[in-house]
């Protein structure tokens, strides 16, 4: 089976290029760029639209096992396909958490039945309780890409340093959530004028810097490969710079919501804007966008967190945090592109190339010999988002009713079309 995409605008994050071209796929693998259509190939005319590596979305919550009413593997995969996400890197914060090789084998089997690639991170400590290390070696053998307790910060630094030292020996990647657990207890907003006026319990942005400094000190101590799941404040960026200058093996991510929204979007206590960490100031948002443009933020993810309606129909401070994002990640990222400053190739470095590289996955690039995980999209197509049209089981998106640009026209995983065309 040979596919030939012609008349495409190729977004190549590796070469940082955004140019017209064509691409040929054979048996699920990219075989040529800029060649003619081979004999017998199915030709797909892209009509000048963008063809980019499929998005690798690092940090997605799927409700399997335990919370399938919020999101199943199937609904997450369909949402991902519709959003141009070809690889989901799932979080271990399920019920029960993915903290044993047996549990990981179960979700891996379920994942294999889905139209997009779903890989898993494992918990760092048993039951994510911060008391005992998981069986890291067995979990790596079973396919764990990284180890994280999600937004639960391990407060016992002695245990954390041992986890890191052990991980260092295995070459495992640890994902931290930079946050000071004491300062952020009970917080639902960022401390400042807005939170004070609306009377919402708040946390200082300094808590993120403190958490980051602590984790980086331990990373320096142990030499572990370490990744910050979300950097959301300007104050944390210089800390990251210092760690890199000191030669630590450190990368950092950011959520698309913190790159496109700020604390004032919460408005009249709209709980779909309650996130962890909470939305920040506009100054922080702009500093983050700049950090994406200059590559200091390596990864952009949706941090897809499905919550059912009841969990959000509560007073703001007691409502469940998180937002769905698999389907809105690409159009939201287009906001950064249309506002200028971040090119499409730069964006795709953070959306596909960097996460794939950091997690040791073969995709995320347009190169001969790599899997044909592709997304074809129109960066300019406008639409108004209707949350009930989302394929995700949960509809908690902060973008409901807003005007967005950027529509996915087709998604291919390993050369097989999973969205667009006949797939609707």
């Amino acid at each position: 089976m040979i596919l030939h995409f012609q008349n495409a605008r190729l977004i190549d994050p590796q070469a940082l290029s955004d140019e017209p071209g064509s691409l040929t796929v054979q048996d699920g693998t990219i075989v040529a760029l800029d060649g003619d259509a081979p004999e017998g190939a199915t030709v797909i005319d892209c009509g000048g639209r963008c063809l980019a590596p499929g998005i690798v979305d690092w940090g997605v919550k799927i409700g399997e096992p335990g919370e399938r009413h919020r999101e199943s593997m199937r609904s997450a995969a369909l949402a991902a396909a519709a959003g141009g996400v070809t690889t989901i890197v799932a979080r271990p914060d399920t019920l029960p958490p993915i903290d044993t090789p047996e549990g990981l084998e179960f979700v891996t089997r379920r994942a294999a039945e889905q139209p997009v690639r779903i890989r898993h991170q494992a918990a760092l400590t048993r039951a994510r309780e911060g008391r005992e290390m998981v069986e890291m070696g067995f979990l790596m053998d079973a396919g764990a890409l990284a180890f994280t307790d999600g937004v639960r910060v391990v407060t016992d630094t002695r245990l954390l340093s041992r986890c890191m030292a052990y991980a260092r020996g295995l070459g495992a990647l640890i994902v931290g959530h930079p946050q000071d657990a004491g300062l952020s207890r009970g917080a639902a907003a960022t401390a400042g004028k807005f939170a004070s006026l609306y009377g919402i319990p708040a946390v200082s942005p300094m808590a993120e810097r403190m958490g980051l400094e602590r984790d980086l000190a331990l990373a320096e101590l142990t030499g572990v490969r370490w990744h910050a799941d979300q950097i959301t404040t300007a104050a944390a960026l210089p800390v990251l710079d210092r760690a890199r200058a000191a030669g630590l093996d450190v990368t950092a991510g950011a959520s698309i919501h913190h790159l496109t929204l700020n604390e004032y979007d919460v408005g009249d206590y709209r709980t779909f804007f309650r996130l962890t960490p909470p939305l920040r100031s506009e100054d922080d948002r702009m500093a983050l966008v700049e950090a994406v443009a200059d590559g200091r933020i390596d990864v952009i993810g949706s941090f897809h967190t499905p919550q059912d309606e009841e969990a959000k129909r509560l007073p703001f401070e007691v409502a469940a945090p998180g937002a769905v994002g698999l389907e809105t990640l690409l159009p939201a990222a287009m906001r950064l592109y249309h506002q200028g400053g971040v090119g499409l190739a730069q964006l795709w470095r953070a959306l596909s190339l960097n996460p794939a590289t950091r997690l040791g996955l073969p995709g995320g690039r347009l190169a001969a010999g790599t899997p044909a995980d592709l997304v074809l999209f129109d960066p300019d197509a406008p639409f108004v988002l209707d949350r009930f049209a989302l394929r995700s089981k949960s509809k908690n998106t902060p973008f409901d009713g807003t005007r967005m640009e950027g529509r996915v026209l087709g998604t291919w995983v390993g050369g097989t079309r999973v969205f667009g065309g006949d797939h609707g």
Partner: protein
């Protein structure tokens, strides 16, 4: 009449002219309340439900009395709080009550924004009787009326709001209202009880109470909200009283005719010296309670007028009135 609001969720959405309208109407109710026969008919035939998710004696009885004096059928509901599923009871209770066709719903809730959430689910007029650390609009309005009667005006006054600003919805509503009416507001208290970003609110911040009270026209004391604190805001009550409690010596720094206010209930010897609170030449604390009933009568009267006009317009097929 320039009062267009459908609900009274806070003072933040009110225009200065609306505040003045409400206070002017409240003046007439002060007069009514001082007569032997205290009955008005502004709320005749209407049903008022007081829904309190948080214990309250003064505010609830003030609203109850206000409704009864204007002829409303008043029902009090004290909703027991389960500690976990607060919100579920909130919306479910709101929908249940709404089905009973009340006209005025007075709500107090421990979470900021909970009253706004409830107001979006019902089709009667909702009055916020305090939500979390957010707003307590009738308290700010009754304070405004008290100040206006004591000082003869509600503008160009220096008002020092002292104490536990961080946990106080009274402070927020007062700050907003006094700012709208063009007064100079000072927030006085220890840094641990001062909300972050307060300096951006267009008021002065003083940690030193003596500097904060200097030449003030109005000294507004706040209750130390022990029940909202999760520990470690002040070292001890006696140290707090020494540095931020209102006593004769500190009050002497304010203008000689400065008035002393407190939203109650007072912690005597913690934020205020008992003798100051009882000094009839300085303290207007009892007046505040009296004004509370009048202001709540005025607020419910105005909302009821808008409600009737809206329903009348709908019945006549004329679309939305406001």
């Amino acid at each position: 009449m320039t009062f267009r609001a459908r609900h009274l969720l806070g003072v933040e959405p009110l225009a200065p002219a609306e505040i003045t309208t409400l206070l002017d109407l409240a003046e007439t109710y002060v007069a009514l309340n001082r007569r032997t026969v205290k009955h008005g008919d502004a709320l005749e035939g209407l049903t008022q439900i007081n829904l309190f998710f948080e214990a309250s004696t003064r505010t609830q009885s003030s609203f109850e009395l206000a409704g009864k004096r204007l002829g409303a059928d008043v029902m009090n509901m004290a909703v027991a709080q389960s500690s976990v599923k607060k919100g579920e009871t909130l919306i479910d209770t709101a929908l249940t009550l709404n089905a009973m066709q009340p006209d005025l719903l007075v709500v107090r809730h421990p979470n900021s924004g909970a009253v706004n959430l409830l107001a979006s689910k019902v089709n009667c007029a909702v009055l916020n009787a305090g939500d979390g650390r957010h707003e307590h609009p009738t308290q700010a309005l009754l304070d405004a009326l008290t100040i206006r009667r004591a000082k003869g005006r509600l503008h160009r006054l220096t008002v020092a709001i002292c104490g536990d600003i961080a946990h106080s919805r009274v402070a927020r509503s007062n700050l907003i209202l006094l700012g709208k009416m063009e007064n100079r507001v000072r927030l006085v208290g220890p840094a641990t009880l001062m909300p972050r970003g307060a300096a951006d609110w267009g008021c002065e911040i003083h940690e030193d109470m003596r500097a904060g009270l200097q030449d003030a026209d109005v000294v507004m004391m706040l209750r130390l909200q022990k029940e909202r604190m999760d520990g470690g805001f002040i070292p001890s009550e006696r140290e707090y009283f020494h540095r931020w409690g209102l006593d004769a010596e500190k009050l002497a720094l304010a203008k000689p005719d400065a008035i002393v206010m407190h939203p109650g209930p007072m912690n005597r010897g913690v934020e205020i010296d008992g003798t100051i609170a009882d000094d009839i030449n300085r303290s207007v604390i009892q007046d505040q309670v009296e004004m509370g009933v009048a202001v709540r009568m005025a607020a419910m009267d105005l909302l009821a007028r808008n409600l009737r006009a809206e329903r009348g317009a709908r019945a006549a097929g004329g679309g939305v009135y406001v």
